[in-house]
């Protein structure tokens, strides 16, 4: 049985202006997040992951947004700023990629958490806020929360700051939590602790989570569904197991074979040739990934690659997966996936 739909994005495009023209950084993206579900968005730097998140949060003041963003049926794209302010930080909140810009350097940690609490619970007393802030800091693994609460951001290490940001994001027990690279700056042990915490929070509150990351290990541990983005588009989407065990799109497969040390046998990591084109120079017709797999016969590419459902609930853009191979593997013997054992 599928859970209730929490967030439904239909044909979202987010464009930015560069020299008079608008260019789509998010190009016709549709996604669904259900209650008690973690949807991971993965993809190379610049593929539009953060831009998607910012669009949902209504934080792109200079971008042009088209399409529908339905949170529990309500279209966020149509709300006024003040209506959005009521939802942000309460029904949905976001953990930002850059921890330095997310905290106010001039304010004690406790005061910052207190403000967020006050925003949505007007009748909490000062003592209640303080106690709850201490509890929150303890939950995100801050060792001495009663001390940290009176400290300023610059007195904390990067990892501690990130945990404070997570505490703020979960303070009002949001229905939808968007986490943009939440653990990239953290050590593995703390990362594991944060991931467990997000899992717990999701189970307790029945929340939906969008987890943006380039760490495929984190995806494997956390996600229920995975959307792989390349150059502003979703190129593959399915349940987490299919992505890892039976990946189809050439980009997904390339990404999986570039992870270091899943076993020692694999000596050379796969390197995806070339770079992600800049927004302005993105090919807008035909295949966007083709330049990065130049050994594939030109005839193999489709002119208008669209998402196909290749098996139940497993979507892949285009048909090139049928004849894709890595340069160092035999054309006939197309080994599928990285996790055979």
């Amino acid at each position: 049985m599928l859970n209730q739909e929490l967030l439904k994005i239909n044909n979202l495009s987010t464009s930015f202006q560069i020299d008079e023209e608008y260019y789509a950084a998010v190009d016709d993206v549709s996604l669904t997040v259900r209650e008690n579900e973690v949807l991971a968005i993965v993809g190379e730097s610049g593929s539009g992951k953060s831009a998607t998140a910012f669009s949902i949060m209504g934080l792109h003041n200079r971008g042009k947004i088209e399409g529908e963003i339905l949170l529990q049926g309500q279209d966020l794209a149509k709300l006024s700023t003040s209506e959005m302010n009521k939802i942000r930080g309460k029904d949905m909140s976001m953990i930002f990629q850059d921890p330095l810009t997310a905290l106010n350097p001039l304010m004690e940690i406790g005061v910052q958490i207190g403000e967020v609490l006050l925003l949505h619970n007007k009748n909490m007393s000062k003592t209640e806020r303080r106690n709850y802030a201490i509890e929150l800091l303890g939950r995100v693994g801050i060792p001495r929360p009663e001390r940290t609460i009176d400290q300023f951001p610059h007195e904390l290490s990067g990892g501690m700051r990130q945990r404070v940001i997570i505490a703020i994001a979960i303070a009002n027990q949001p229905k939808l939590l968007i986490a943009d690279e939440p653990t990239t700056a953290l050590d593995v042990t703390i990362q594991a602790q944060i991931l467990d915490l997000m899992q717990e929070l999701k189970d307790d509150l029945n929340s939906g989570v969008i987890l943006i990351t380039h760490d495929l290990g984190v995806v494997a541990e956390m996600a229920d569904r995975v959307a792989v983005m390349y150059a502003g588009q979703i190129v593959e989407e399915s349940d987490v197991e299919s992505i890892f065990v039976n990946p189809q799109h050439p980009y997904t497969r390339s990404l999986l074979s570039s992870i270091p040390a899943t076993d020692y046998a694999q000596d050379r990591l796969h390197v995806i040739q070339g770079i992600v084109p800049s927004l302005k120079h993105l090919p807008r017709t035909g295949c966007r990934f083709k330049e990065r797999i130049p050994w594939i016969d030109d005839d193999a590419h489709e002119d208008h690659p669209v998402l196909h459902e290749v098996s139940e609930d497993h979507f892949v853009r285009c048909t090139c997966y049928q004849h894709f191979y890595f340069p160092d593997e035999n054309k006939e013997d197309q080994a599928n996936g990285v996790t055979e054992g």
Binding site: S45, S157, A192, A220, V245, L255, P260, A261, T262, V271
Partner: protein, 310 residues
């Protein structure tokens, strides 16, 4: 043969305070660390944030005041108190943590890469340019990019420029401090492959600092695990990953995400089991102050910090 030998290294930073700004306390960033890096190998140093990895690397580079202990490179005593200071800076080079901030944004590539050369050799403008172009080609950057600025390159390319500068003086040892932590997986793969190539080509020894155990496992022959300024375990990569002995190492290894989602539940259970064991047996592995004991040899290659048992 040991190329680098670090013996009972201590680096304590004073904390000043009060009205007279006297020393009121100290941070024992590195507190009795000993290890060797052998010629041609890749030695990895792992540990949580703040455990003293960068401080150790910088000490080898001569960038920190050493409180106590000794560092030897080949046959030279790097921190000898008497006699003249031995300059090995052209033999040891460091690649820094963040490719986005470690290159001066206002300098052109030619000036960035030529900087170490200018400190050591007097070359004519033309010879210098030739040298820089060769170095760039060696790291896979087109040699006509010498007049560009760092922001015109991707993260992976910037890290390569950092490497070009580091190899400019033909060093024997490169200290790579989190060289790929700030990079995307696919760019990360590119830089890791490239470091392995250049190591082979130039007979380099690598001292690799990271907190990502996946990267460490992929790159290193031997690994030292650091916790609060001390080593808790050292061994061959297989020993550390397949047969960890110290509870902190076990916890680190258990925390690595498993890339097969089918093992998820099992892995999560294992992780919480280890966490419990860690909490229960903490004082079997650490002294009353929470510090690691001295390393004991348990096989020819494997050392663990365990208490003296009577």
């Amino acid at each position: 043969m040991a190329l680098l030998k670090v013996d009972d290294l201590k680096i304590h930073f004073p904390i000043h305070g009060g009205i007279l700004n006297r020393k009121i306390d100290e941070v024992k960033a590195v507190d009795g660390v000993s290890f060797e890096v052998r010629e041609g190998e890749t030695y990895g140093l792992v540990g949580e944030s703040g455990s003293g990895k960068t401080t150790t690397g910088k000490a080898v580079m001569g960038l920190n005041n050493i409180t106590d202990g000794d560092i030897y490179f080949e046959d030279s005593h790097l921190n000898a108190k008497k006699g003249k200071k031995i300059d090995v800076r052209n033999d040891i080079q460091m690649i820094f943590q963040d490719p986005y901030s470690s290159l001066n944004p206002r300098k052109r590539v030619i000036d960035i890469v030529a900087e170490p050369i200018r400190n050591y050799e007097k070359l004519s403008k033309d010879d210098e340019k030739k040298r820089v172009q060769e170095l760039l080609e060696r790291v896979g950057i087109s040699s006509d990019s010498i007049m560009k600025y760092p922001h015109e390159f991707s993260g992976g390319q910037r890290q390569r420029i950092g490497v070009a500068r580091a190899i400019a003086l033909n060093p024997k040892l490169i200290i790579a401090d989190e060289p790929v932590s700030a990079l995307d997986v696919s760019v990360q793969a590119q830089v890791l492959n490239f470091l392995q190539d250049i190591q082979k080509e130039m007979d380099l020894t690598l001292f690799f600092i990271a907190h990502d155990l996946g990267v460490i496992k992929h790159m290193c022959d031997r690994i030292g695990i650091m916790y609060q300024g001390r080593l808790v375990e050292e061994g061959l990569t297989e020993e550390i990953f397949n047969n960890p002995q110290h509870i902190y190492t076990k916890r680190l290894v258990a925390a690595i995400p498993d890339v097969d989602p089918r093992n998820r539940e099992k892995h999560r259970e294992f992780r919480s089991q280890i966490k419990e064991e860690y909490q229960q047996s903490f004082y079997d592995y650490f002294n009353e102050e929470g510090l690691a004991f001295n390393l004991k040899q348990i096989t020819d290659t494997h050392k663990v910090a365990l208490p003296e048992r009577g």
